[in-house]
């Protein structure tokens, strides 16, 4: 199933793109699984995703834990803790 991945702030800068579309890989069922799968790409992805404790995520535009279920997700975003206001 196609999944849009969005990146914000330093995650976006390290990855080098703001968004991409992938097919959900086998064995990836949570945002944490996906982060580790992305880190395995190496380079900027490894820099961005090697320490998942620094990451937050939203699935279909709701902030959820990295251990949430990705089944049926259409969009996931990875980003650092928010700093607005």
């Amino acid at each position: 199933m196609a999944l849009d991945i969005l990146y914000f702030a330093w995650v976006r800068e390290r990855v080098g793109v703001g968004a991409e579309r992938i097919d959900l890989p086998d064995g990836v069922s949570t945002p944490l699984d996906l982060a580790l799968w992305l880190a395995a790409r190496g380079g900027g992805y490894a820099e961005a995703f090697s320490d998942p404790s620094r990451l937050r995520c939203a699935v279909d535009q709701d902030i959820v834990p990295l251990t949430a279920d990705l089944a049926n997700a259409a969009e996931i975003a990875f980003f650092p803790p928010v700093t607005g206001g």
Binding site: W10, A58, Q61, V82, T83, G84, G85
Partner: protein
């Protein structure tokens, strides 16, 4: 009335307050956040998550209306590059009761800082850096749980 906007443009706080004052309540409270020139910060860039941002701010406004008797809630946030002294965020509330207006205003800005998808990058003459989230902002937001 709930009014939520995310925009690069500045906002007219007098006009926003006048709209809240016109909702029939006796009490209007507001909070405005401004870029501080601390530590050599010349400007900052606000990035956000289009689509989700408006949804998150509207959810915060709805939560505030569920917790306090409000007749108006306004949440405005700027994005893009802002310089020292520029407004970043405006939160306004209207109610029949002053405590409701002031508490809801505090709730909204506390929660906005941890629940809405904005990220600040500071620009200094010696370089740029992403602002780190602060534990005390998390604590303030969780105090409303």
């Amino acid at each position: 009335m709930i009014s939520v906007r995310v925009q690069p443009e500045d906002f007219d706080v007098g006009a926003e307050l006048a709209a809240l004052e016109g909702q029939g309540g006796g009490a209007v409270a507001s909070f405005t956040g401004i870029v501080r020139a601390d530590d050599g910060v010349e400007a900052m860039t606000l990035e956000h998550y289009p689509g989700m941002t408006e949804k998150a701010l509207t959810a915060l406004a709805d939560q505030a209306k569920g917790r306090w008797p409000l007749c108006g809630v306004t949440v405005l946030h700027r994005v893009g590059t802002l310089k020292a002294g520029d407004r970043i965020v405006f939160v306004g509330t209207a109610s029949d009761h002053r405590a409701a207006a002031l508490e809801a205003c505090t709730f909204l800005i506390d929660r906005l800082k941890t629940d809405a998808p904005f990220w600040k990058k500071e620009h200094r003459s010696e370089g740029d850096n992403w602002v780190e989230a602060r534990a005390r902002d998390d604590a303030a937001a969780r105090s409303w749980d």
